[in-house]
Assembly symmetry: C2
Homo-oligomer: 181 residues x 2
Amino acid sequence: MKKNKALRAKSTEYRAEFLHSLHPCGKTAGYSAMENNFYFMNEAIKEARKGLGEGGIPIGSVLVKNGKIIGRGHNRRVQKKSAILHAEMDCLENAGRLKARDYKKCVIYSTLSPCDMCTGAILLYKIPKVIIGENKTFKGPEAYSKKRGIKIVNLDMRECRNIMSDFILKKPELWNEDIGV
Amino acid sequence: MKKNKALRAKSTEYRAEFLHSLHPCGKTAGYSAMENNFYFMNEAIKEARKGLGEGGIPIGSVLVKNGKIIGRGHNRRVQKKSAILHAEMDCLENAGRLKARDYKKCVIYSTLSPCDMCTGAILLYKIPKVIIGENKTFKGPEAYSKKRGIKIVNLDMRECRNIMSDFILKKPELWNEDIGV
C-alpha cells in the first residue's frame, strides 16, 4: 500500500496533486524549482477547471513573480464573447499594468503551449520563462520563442492533456475557432 | 491656387484627408486599392485621436472585411488600466468572435507597426494583410510576419508619425510601459 502511494506520487501524473498536498500555502522557499513548477501548474489547472465549469475552454494560466502568484486567469472566449481572452492574456490582464522590470522577474504558467498571440504577449513583455502543462494537443511557436531568448519548460502532464483532449473531442468547432482554424 | 491644391492632394501627408473628402461614405467600389487604404487608415487615425482625447496612447486600428469596417478600436492601457488592450487587440475584441474563414477575408489597419503581441494575434487568426501608418517611431517584428506569409503595406504617413512622436516626447514612461521597455 505504502509502495503504491510512493509510486503514484513519483509519477508525473500525480505529482502536481501530491506536491500540492505538501505545499498548500504557496510558500516556495525550501522547495525545489521543479516542485514549485508543479505547485504553480496545479494552480493553472484549477483555473482551467474553473473555465470548464463556466462552459468555457479549459485552459488556465498563472503569473508568478518572486515565488508569488500576481495574476491568474483562464480562457474566456465563451464567457466574455472574447476573441482575445486566451488564458495567458486573461492572466496578464488580471495582473494589471506592470513595468518592464516586473515582468523580467516573472514566470508564466499555462496548462497548454501558448499560441501565437499569447507568445507575442510574452515576447512583448519579455517574460523570461514559460512553464507549460503540455504541447501534444496543441503546440504554439515554441522554437521561435526560444530563438527570442525565452526559456520553455514542458511539464508534459497527463492531466493537462486529458482536459484538452476531452474538450476537443466534445467541442471541436469551438476549439478550432479559438486557434483560428 | 488650383495647382497648390492638387499638389497638396498628391502628397502622402494630405492624401488621407483628401481621399476622405472624396470617399466619405465608406463605399470602396470604384476606388483604387491604395485609395481605400488611405480611407481606412484615416478611420484608424480617428481612433488614435479618440484615444488621445481620452488621455490614452494615440494608436488606432480598424478591421475591414470585404471593404467594410467590422471592428474598430484604440489603445486603452490608460482608460481600462489594461495590459493587453493595444489598438489592434481592442479592434479585434470589438469585432467579436469570428470564424477563421472570416479573418481570411480581412485586412487590419493600424496607425503604427504592430508589436509582438498584436502581430501574434494577427498570426493566430491568419489575417492575410496588415496596412500600417508608419514604422519609424516603433517597429514590430515585420520581417517575421512576412516570413509567416502576412503581407504588410506601410503607408508611411507623416500624420501617424507626428501623433506618435509628439506623444512619446510628452509621456515617455507611459510609452515605454506600453512596449515593455
